[in-house]
Symmetry: C2
Subunit: 432 residues, 2 copies
């Protein structure tokens, strides 16, 4: 299949930053962008789409999520963290069955696709069900089965999560034209004893896989780790050999200058989760410092239970303004930096150098924004428009790997009504 | 005209808080709600609307805006406050003509109506043009011509803004079935000399009008006022007699406990502007303290030049989570309190006890939210859904004073295409 997008406002990025090409053409052949230009290409395309009044830009990348948690959207709002987690969320998760994750993954994908997310990194139970949902939906994802261990004498062979993680990697890594990748994952320092953390990190490095973690989300987490091991969680993971693999670390709210030097030295990518950090009272990650130090910072929504949605436009908005307010400096974080976080930086974090920008040779993961909405006019500054004026609902087309998944409110790969019925059934069972 | 909304999820509020009535009926006769119930009313209605799958709730109230500033949306993003204001915004405002404000007011109303705003309080140049736009659009508004004075010897007779303010009040206060009210307004302490502030405040009290101010937006403003007059801006306005009239004070970021005691004693309402305070680096208003002390706190977007939109769903989202993050307490501000800020508290601030809740005898200012969107399901907690899951684009119907202004993407009172053409012409002239 070949598609030509005609008369679009194209959001391009080069070393000098972002620029828009007015009345531009973008050609897609198979899964790849094969033309970007100001005039129509000579080569023929099977389908031509008039994109007048639409901004075509790279798809957004959600680098930290637990998408099946849409099952718990908004539950226990207003509770303290401990009560919310231990008395509300964990008992529900304890009742989860495979069918719940199957239904909820597909349901979450409807929201993500409609909101312009083309790729995501996810950590949750029954990840093989999420793999199947992703395969069916046509989006891109780095998925994992995260490992926990509360017994310091447990061996690799005894840890069933490691077994599942390895099997998932063997079975699905690189599947679906490389749309699906399988990462390794240690849930967090506070949920994994050193013996297993060390052994599993070595298995990750042996396979050349990538690692995904929760890291230094709160000051309490850091304090307790120091009490336990005499070092911060960042230094602990370094000791475990975890950072010998390319690592994505979610949150990093409570990271010192020394911690950040370790992250930088090991090229660890950080996932900033603005809504989750504010809503759970975790605080303000040192995003300006990390960017200045050359750490790759991407964006995530975290789960819908602590957000309460999977909306990267909201995360961009917050990332663009929350630190300016916190540090009393309106120039602290630029809109361009935020747009990078949601696109190219996310691609880098996922180990995917073939997405994140619109350029010839890159995968066609892109979205269109309907510029006819009153809140998107006038356009003096496109990055500012996307971070501080736009909403997820302004997305009118989502394409991944050259295939249109969503157009003008319609899902083309997923049966929305059937998925909603399955979601209703899952909820009825879970909360019976 | 009479309309019956059938089979709606109705968001009701009583002393115990919010509750939803499933499969509810809401009847409107003229501009007033005349029925709310679980079963169909016996009385006939001219029009019946099937609201299955839609949440019907009070319209949102934007208590601090400068709506014609959509002309400057996103301009100068990334500049420091001084450079942005003095080198970018003020020179543009200096070129503004009446036609610009006429076009921009209508254009901004498209955005506000589509995003569920049914009433707003506005401060800008050529307010009579905004009055006409509001009359035509059918929304509710408290408008003002704000007063400034940089000459300490100037008399009331010499201040042309006071003249305009009084004329506006005489001509339009209570117009359009009371949809339009005219407030008095002093721009801020730092832009108004005491003699005029005192005299104009007395004129406001004489007429029984309401006052609208910028107040203690930054620590710098407070420091400079203390240097000038030996008192904080709050204490200064009290000395001027300003608070002898019901007053709405925008921002109140830098207010001490003593300041808040003055605000409370005079029943001053505070407008919290989350995006503007973060984006401009102003900081975090003491919202928890103000609520605990019994101060009425409402919400505002401020102008689109420093926001960069007029989206109250974003303001609700921020108000619900930014203080929790700042104070490291996820329970600090409840979703119910935020929903109150955007509805009943706003109504109180505007001096309108006939809007802000859905109840028999109240004006029919209401909106409908399309619950079929994936990000709005499941619904465990409606206030949490509205503050932390919903987007402005989820609004599928907006009604003010019993009249439908917007339905499924169509504007019924404004000619969107004509307004867009006028807006393009205004921009072309302004930036020629």
């Amino acid at each position: 299949m070949s598609i030509l997008l005609e008369h679009a406002e194209l959001l391009l990025r080069d070393a000098a930053g972002y620029r828009t090409l007015h009345d531009g053409y973008l050609g897609i052949r198979g899964s790849v962008i094969d033309y970007v230009g100001e005039s129509a290409p000579e080569a023929p395309y099977a389908r031509r789409l008039d994109m007048r009044g639409k901004l075509v830009m790279p798809g957004l990348i959600n680098c930290h999520s637990h998408i099946p948690m849409v099952l718990m959207r908004g539950i226990g709002s207003g509770l303290g963290l401990h009560e919310w987690l231990f008395e509300t969320i964990f008992p529900i998760e304890d009742r989860l069955v495979r069918e719940d994750v199957a239904a909820a993954s597909r349901f979450a994908l409807l929201e993500m696709i409609a909101g312009g997310t083309t790729s995501f990194s996810d950590m949750y139970f029954f990840p093989d069900e999420t793999v199947r949902a992703v395969a069916e939906a046509g989006v891109r994802a780095n998925l994992n089965r995260c490992v926990q261990c509360f017994d310091e004498n447990q061996t690799v062979e005894e840890n069933h999560q490691i077994k599942e993680s390895l099997a998932l990697f063997e079975q699905y890594h690189g599947a679906e034209n490389d749309r699906i990748r399988i990462d390794f994952s240690i849930h967090a320092e506070y949920t994994c004893k050193p013996r297993i953390a060390r052994a599993y990190s070595a298995l990750c490095a042996e396979r050349g896989a990538r690692m995904h973690l929760h890291l230094s989300e709160t000051e309490r987490e850091v304090r307790e780790c120091i009490e336990r091991y005499g070092v911060t969680p960042v230094a602990w993971f370094e000791q475990m050999g975890t950072f010998d693999s390319p690592t994505a670390a979610a949150h990093c709210v409570a990271v010192s200058a020394e911690d950040r030097a370790i992250l930088r030295a090991h090229h660890v990518s950080v996932i900033h989760n603005p809504t989750s950090n504010l809503k759970l009272g975790s605080g303000f990650a040192p995003v300006r410092e990390m960017l200045d130090e050359g750490i790759n910072v991407a964006l995530g929504t975290d789960g819908a239970a602590s957000n309460n949605n999977l909306n990267l436009f909201e995360e961009m908005h917050l990332a663009a303004i929350m630190h300016d307010g916190y540090h009393r400096d309106p120039t602290l974080i630029s809109d361009t930096e935020v747009l990078d976080m949601a696109t190219v930086n996310g691609a880098k974090l996922q180990g995917r150098d073939d997405v994140g920008v619109l350029a010839v040779g890159k995968k066609a993961d892109l979205i269109a924004i309907d510029l006819s909405r009153p809140h998107l006019y006038p356009v003096f500054d496109t990055p500012a428009l996307l971070t501080c004026s736009a909403q997820a609902g302004d997305v009118c087309m989502t394409m991944v790997d050259g295939k249109i998944l969503y157009e003008n409110g319609e899902f083309l790969t997923l049966d929305a009504e059937k998925i909603k019925a399955q979601m209703r059934a899952a909820l009825a069972r879970l909360y019976a």
